[in-house]
């Protein structure tokens, strides 16, 4: 083996196994931060091929071929390829994702977005809600776009928190409160519960989120909330 071979070891991965799944999960969050909306949300449906390569100084790089679709709009599946670099280091830093997304299905949602925007940018609009979905998995039809929006916003955090030992999904929206529209952006205070499959922990985050059809989803502030150490109810 050459000296270069010793430094940069490339390894084929089983695309169904945990490494490829976790990397695919990070890619899903990344795509949603770029293209997610109250009316568009992507899911990586499958990883087809995966390879990993240790990048001597920078970290661990994953090369994936995968399928993804917008499941809100029920788009067709798109087959893409991507590189995910998990940086080396002791402190958490988000993976760097590189891909070309020109072929990603982006169904026309401008009419829906405009209608939604018009409706909730009215001066007296003050949407609020909690526990979405409820304990039984129900979501009011009217709240669905807010749930999608929460998942997009949560994707920013989930991406930031992703590393080779995480697999994040948003478990629920604990709270949503609409704030005053500012600079033509709808603004919301969200409290979301994230589930990390690997540790099985539920992690609570407070997010200040803005959105408009033109501005897209922006996460302005994030705050990690302390664990709820709920006491046993007296019986």
């Amino acid at each position: 083996m050459s000296e270069e071979g010793l430094v940069m070891t490339s390894r084929d991965l089983n695309p169904d196994y945990y490494e490829a799944r976790r990397a695919g999960n990070a890619v899903q969050h990344y795509i949603n931060t770029l293209y997610g909306s109250p009316f568009r949300l992507y899911s990586v449906t499958q990883v087809h091929k995966a390879r990993t390569e240790a990048m001597a100084d920078t970290g661990m790089k994953y090369f994936l071929e995968f399928s993804v679709k917008d499941w809100v709009g029920e788009s067709s599946e798109w087959h893409g390829s991507v590189e995910v670099l998990y940086p080396r280091g002791e402190t958490q830093a988000p993976p760097q994702v590189q891909g070309s997304w020109g072929g990603l299905p982006q169904l026309n949602i401008s009419a829906k977005e405009q209608e939604f925007y018009q409706r909730y940018s009215a001066a007296d609009s003050s949407v609020s809600g909690k526990d979405i979905p409820d304990s039984y998995g129900n979501i009011d039809r009217e709240m669905k776009p807010f749930w999608h929006l929460a998942r997009v916003a949560a994707s920013f955090v989930m991406l930031n928190e992703s590393n080779e030992n995480t697999l994040y999904n948003m478990a629920q929206v604990a709270k949503i409160t609409q704030l005053e529209t500012q600079d033509d952006q709808l603004r919301f205070d969200y409290e979301v519960l994230l589930h990390n499959m690997v540790s099985q922990e539920i992690i609570r985050w407070k997010l200040l989120v803005s959105w408009s059809p033109a501005g897209g989803v922006k996460v302005l502030e994030t705050e990690l909330l302390p664990r709820c150490h709920c006491k046993s109810p007296t019986q």
Partner: protein
Amino acid sequence: CVKDLLWYLFGNLLLLLQISVWMKQMEQDHPDVVSSMIYGTTYEKRNITLLKIGLNSTLPKKAIWMDCGIHAREWIAPAFCQHFVKEILGSYKTDPKMNELFKNLDFYITPVLNMDGYIYSWVDNTTRLWRKSRSPGSDGCTCFGTDLNRNFYANWGMVGISRNCCSEIYNGHSPLSESEAVAVTDFLSANRDQLLCFLTIHSYGQLILVPYGHPNISAPNYDELMEVGLAAAKAIKAVHGVDYTVGTPPDVLYANSGSSRDFARLIGIPFSFTFELRDKGDFGFKLPEDQIQPTCEEAYQGAMSIINYVHDKTFPILTLYGLTTVQGKTVTCL
């Protein structure tokens, strides 16, 4: 609220009262094949009950074990156990294959193993995502609960656990510190010669997991377990097109130790599987009502695929020509 009623009607498992009422109902409706057994108690002193289902026999019978709801928040699991019971009871009189299973096997089915945790998860919205048991912490730790699926005497404490009692994967003060894990351990140990198959039902992830949770330990029949698991995944996919991935936890999910599935395999129960039902994270633990029925239907086919394999392997059918037939394939001359 109408939606609550819908869940209740569909899943029909609400609280402790409803669970025991339902189990009593099954016994009353099918007294010739159903009996219940209390085989342990929870921390909060609730009974842990299973349904024993099968045609009566004077001789000891081989058996299949199924438990649901070892993790409280995985509500689809107890719903599945209920669906499974309903399906087998509804078909054993008319379906000759099921009748044969009832003749040769007993099903031991625990609809809700972690009773304390499950009831706690129904208290309100702040408790919905509870996972563990409800025993108090020890050694000054103020949090509650042990992860029952890390508490078994199967490489306990080796990997995939936390020693912090506030963690969701806290494996307990010591192995079998939890009475729920003791109940299962005692039953499996007492019946290990009868038990052919151990199925434990969880959510979410759409996985069929084979032993072991430790990356460096392989089950002696790994190849066969994978073959049977893959056949089950195929049977699942045939129902509604949903993909389930098959493998050991270190391969497809994460390493862990102290699981009930590993304990079952370690004491010699040859076919031991964990089912992780729908979905893959969109709703996670809070699977919507319209997915309960399809999830149960597909998982049922997956479970029956395994059970039929295990049965046919143990009770091969002799044909006229003296050939042994296993699962319809001629195997060998006697």
